[in-house]
Symmetry: C2
Subunit: 361 residues, 2 copies
DNA sequence: TTTTGTTGTGAGACCGGTCTCAAACTTGAA
DNA sequence: TTCAAGTTTGAGACCGGTCTCACAACAAAA
């Protein structure tokens, strides 16, 4: 790996020589600091233009200690949820003249660790992370620069965090299902649970996952539904095996009559699986999903969704982080953005209660 | 803007002092270059661990002249096409230990220019760009570092480029429509045309747009369809007004009986507009779109699409660029990836020919 | 034993900026 | 006219690495 012949770029010294002033003076003009007389100022600028001077941001960062960029580690940019959030982040960043270095964790802790490592070595001024797992957060605690959490809070980590009201959202959505008479309701999420779940709610410390489950369980309890924990299905990520698991769920004897999906990717997979099984929405099965993804409004029937302010989510964390970068040292904030349910056509009476109401009328 | 109290980080000198060797020797071990005796090597490593030394990538870039990162400028990360391509890029980059700085142009040349400017100032080792406009490419020609073009070729720019067989794809798709008897076929794209179109095909020099139009026109010509140019609709981006234009198109007296959409975002908008107008697919109108987006397979009816190898597109440009970064100086390559049409249910006989075939049989 | 070569190490320049400090030059009041 | 205060400028250290070069130590060849 030999060094390539570095293309000689124009430096402050070159400009200084051209303008017949000292390097320090040229640097003052070019760097926009200190005070310089009108005449010299103009001369330097002219020389810079003549030479087509381009500042080397790297060298600047070197001395100032700030790189002018923030690192963003998301689970999967391919997921529309994240790509929209990233859009929000980068829009805000651009306004502050900060740029975004993106890294994908693929929802794996090891990849997340290494990504953070690299970003830190690059001396990013701050980090926005969507922690892949909640159990393993030592590497997050060690981070010396400002850190902000996106979409997923970590109780043990007292940093700026922006999430949505996951619990309430799950509660309301589930209630919508129980009120339609459903009693076999499943919650399906892509999140993986390390270890066994049964009763160990407290062990799930990724807020998003935990809060949603709590909301889900609360609504079930309200409706007097027992052992609702059994109906929580983890690990329905983007894979063949995950799809197979869904098919099995849908084909089981006591298949759910309603499902709440944790994100639009899982929901799409579910939607396809439901079709494959020849089941009808909402006739045989009702479906609600988190995230108002594109496709949810154009299916037949269109899907009832929990609309999360995804763009705003990204925008807010970025704002919080950038404020901190500017020296704000208020105690960490935890912003919770409200969600709303967009009712479409995917929720119907439970097939089990329809018989009753028919016979009653 | 006063300098924040820089947190003193551990440097090679610190490690050197701790290990009781010279800075140069410590640097050799830590930087992994030169030759050092076993004993000293171990001692330095130990000192580094004890002090929790983290190399400053910035300083390293400073001297080596290479930053270990590439810049990616896309039109809109929010568009699933781009987010998938970016995924491809970053997967490849990660494998080479290179990271990705992402910038959004919002499909605007000015934003693109400024993004490139910033990335260049950050001394990225290379750039991957999806040029927003083809007319204004002076800023691209000036780029001194390796550049690769994604999805959109520029004839005047002889650099590594990865595109798909847009022309053939458009030709095949349009042919599918003409063979179903359609004669009023529209091509709808989000691209904006600077100036007037009529007959000035040559002026469209964004390959993607031009090639597709050429393919479209060729298929029309084959079928003996006149003035097909009139049926090309530009500027159907993500906006209220664009949607209104679509509605007007669909409600006009000589509305098309078939539409080819240039990307999935436009197509989704179209799909909704078609519904709003109370038209049925494929009964009243047939639809084919570029990009096998999520939603196209779950609508009723599912949409026939031109499946572009988007992930591979990103993967390929990244590979090309990284190869170049490693010193490969073969002449620029222009890779054209094949597409295939996934036939679903959105293409039907033209309503105008159905009557004929019925009466004939 | 002298010469030649190889290997390990240290001193210090360098990358391209920022920034401190002191010298030189203005200005204005005494 | 002189001195204090303010402004403009230049010299040079510094950031944290890389890398060249010189030198010392030792081994092998003459």
């Amino acid at each position: 790996m030999k060094r390539p012949p570095r293309l000689p770029s124009i430096t402050v010294s070159d400009v200084a020589r051209e303008a017949k002033v000292s390097k320090a003076t040229a640097a003052r003009v070019l760097g926009g600091y200190g005070r310089v007389s009108e005449t010299v100022h103009a001369a330097v600028l002219e020389a810079a233009k003549a030479l087509d001077y381009r500042p080397n941001e790297l060298a600047r960062s070197m001395t100032t200690g700030r790189s002018g960029s923030i690192g963003v580690v998301v689970g999967d940019i391919e997921n529309p949820f994240f790509s929209l959030a990233v859009r929000g982040i980068s829009d805000v960043a651009r306004l502050s003249g900060i740029n975004v270095i993106l890294a994908n964790s693929g929802e794996e802790v090891e990849a997340e660790k290494s990504a953070i490592h690299v970003l830190l070595a690059k001396r990013v001024d701050g980090l926005i992370v969507t922690p892949a797992q909640s159990g393993d957060i030592a590497h997050l605690k060690e981070i010396a620069c400002p850190l902000a959490l996106l979409d997923r809070a970590l109780p043990e980590l007292d940093v700026d965090t922006v999430t949505v009201d996951d619990r309430s959202a799950a509660l309301r959505a589930t209630r919508m299902l129980t009120q339609a008479g459903h009693r076999r309701i499943a919650y399906v999420t892509a999140a993986v649970l390390s270890g066994d779940f049964r009763g160990a709610k407290s062990r799930i410390n990724t807020s998003t996952v935990r809060e949603r489950i709590l909301g889900f369980l609360e609504a079930c309890r309200e409706a007097g539904i027992e052992v609702a924990e059994r109906n929580i299905h983890f690990g329905s990520g983007r894979s063949q095996s995950a799809h197979a698991v869904l098919l099995r769920l849908l084909r089981s004897a006591d298949r759910p009559t309603a499902i709440l999906a944790s994100d639009s990717v899982v929901a799409l997979d579910l939607f396809k699986a439901i079709r494959e099984c020849g089941l009808g929405i909402p006739r045989d099965i009702s479906l609600i999903t988190f995230h108002d993804a594109d496709w949810t409004s154009v299916t037949t029937p269109p899907i009832t969704v929990i609309d999360q302010p995804v763009y705003a989510l990204g925008k807010s964390v970025a704002e919080l982080l950038i404020r901190r970068l500017k020296g704000d040292d208020r105690p960490p904030e935890r912003i919770v953005l409200p969600t709303r349910i967009i009712e479409r056509m995917s929720v119907g009476q439970s097939p089990e209660t329809i018989g009753q109401s028919l016979s009653r009328s």
